[in-house]
């Protein structure tokens, strides 16, 4: 079926509980109703240019319980969350949310692409994912724009602790996923 399966050299390990884990997470509920029509893949702008990205195959692998294969897959990170598949799915599978659940689970296995660590540390420093350089704030002033608000960083840190975000961005970097 998939290139990925054919070239996989280690024995495939099936985790029968994996699909239940996904189904229990907010956003993962619709995994079980995917019936492999392929509408998502044929609607997907990323799949048009990346041959190895086939969202319907990722759904099947997750349904079958091929946990390691799915969570270590580089392609789950390619979803742009445009949600075209969500709007077109005849079964009502919330593909973008299911993929997000898979990515959130991959993080717990230690797979975090570098860009998210950068975003994370910026959020904990400024409240936003970009540090606005001084030249830009100067430009704002010159253009007569009101100054940007300052974020109460203690609040953001508290939320990051409560939601486990601190651990999310602390884990080992996985540059091979870039």
């Amino acid at each position: 079926m998939s290139n990925e399966v054919k070239t996989y050299r280690k024995p495939l390990r099936i985790d029968p509980e994996f699909k239940n884990l996904v189904l229990k997470m907010p956003g993962g509920e619709t995994l079980k109703i995917c019936f492999q029509c392929g509408t998502c893949t044929s609607s997907c702008p990323i799949a048009q240019i990346i041959d190895t990205y086939r969202p319907n195959q990722l759904m099947r692998l997750a349904q079958f319980g091929l946990k390691d294969k799915v969570l270590s897959s580089k392609t789950i990170w390619l979803c742009a969350a445009c949600a075209t598949c969500v709007d077109r799915c005849p079964q009502g599978v919330e593909m973008a949310s299911v993929l997000r659940v898979l990515k959130n689970l991959a993080v717990k296995e230690g797979c975090v692409p570098r860009v998210f660590k950068d975003f994370g540390s910026a959020i904990l420093k400024t409240g936003f994912v970009y540090n606005i350089p001084k030249t830009r704030t100067k430009k704002r002033e010159d253009a007569g724009l009101p100054p940007l608000s300052k974020t109460k960083i203690e609040d953001i840190k508290k939320l990051a602790e409560k939601t486990g975000f601190i651990d999310t961005i602390k884990g080992e970097e996985s540059d091979d996923r870039q």
């Binding site: 702008p45 709007d87 997000r100 959130n104 975003f119 606005i132 253009a143 940007l148 939320l159 939601t163």
Partner: protein, 299 residues
Amino acid sequence: MTDNKYAFFIGCLIPYRELAYEISARRIAKKLGIKLITMPDANCCGLPIDPVNHEMSIALAARNLCIAEDMGLNIITLCNGCFATLTKTNKQLKKDRELRQRVNKYLADISLEFKGSIEVKHFIEILAEDVGIEKLSELVTKPFNDLKVAEHYGCHFLRPHKYLETENPENPTVLTKLIELTGATVVDYLDESECCGGTVLGIDPNIPLSLARDKLKNIKEAGAEAIITICPNCHMIYDLNQPRIEKTFSETYGLPVLHYPQLLGLAMGITPEELALDELRVKADKVLSRLVEEIKVKH
């Protein structure tokens, strides 16, 4: 809720890279008497980190919603990404009690509580619905003549439709109407609803560049002379990265990409300087040359 007064959620990309969008939108707001109140203490909308930690993403979105609730104002945003995240979170928190309890537990630690008393709107919705096409048309004093443009809505203004409930994502009309009132003509092109790919720029920059190249090619082939966007992310991909795309694929496009408020402002007779047109990477001289010289008399 006070009319014409909104909690203005600027987000991060606009102050970082797309200042012209804010400048032109504020200029239009001033002209229309819309008051944009800066949200004190706002934070990231939550979208960029959703792939790695959904709980933190909704907690960040909810914190912004609480700040606007305290201000007693609806949120207005210029960015599709912020719009989609804040709208979806707001609607889900209002509907889903279990989720609300969970999120309020996070928020309790920072003395906030989601109450569900406000709404989130995109600037474009305010223009089309609250101000109205008719009123805007009356303010057009310097319409465009013989200018063909391509529209790009951007995914997160429309999808997922189930949560955003804006327009039919397969056949949206609001931006078309807003563009046409300036006198410009909207041309159809292949794969109009295709995503800019901006959200995966940090994972693999080749993806958005390839997608943008297809988009520019299709737009050029359809005979459009400019692109109109309503999202800073899409704008960054098509305008700021256009020279990079031209270089990578050894092609020339020279397609100016205007933020919608810039197009509208020009047609209202506001000067290019006031609308920060010089901030654009691809110069829009061709667009400016299509403005009708004399002020059209309205009956």
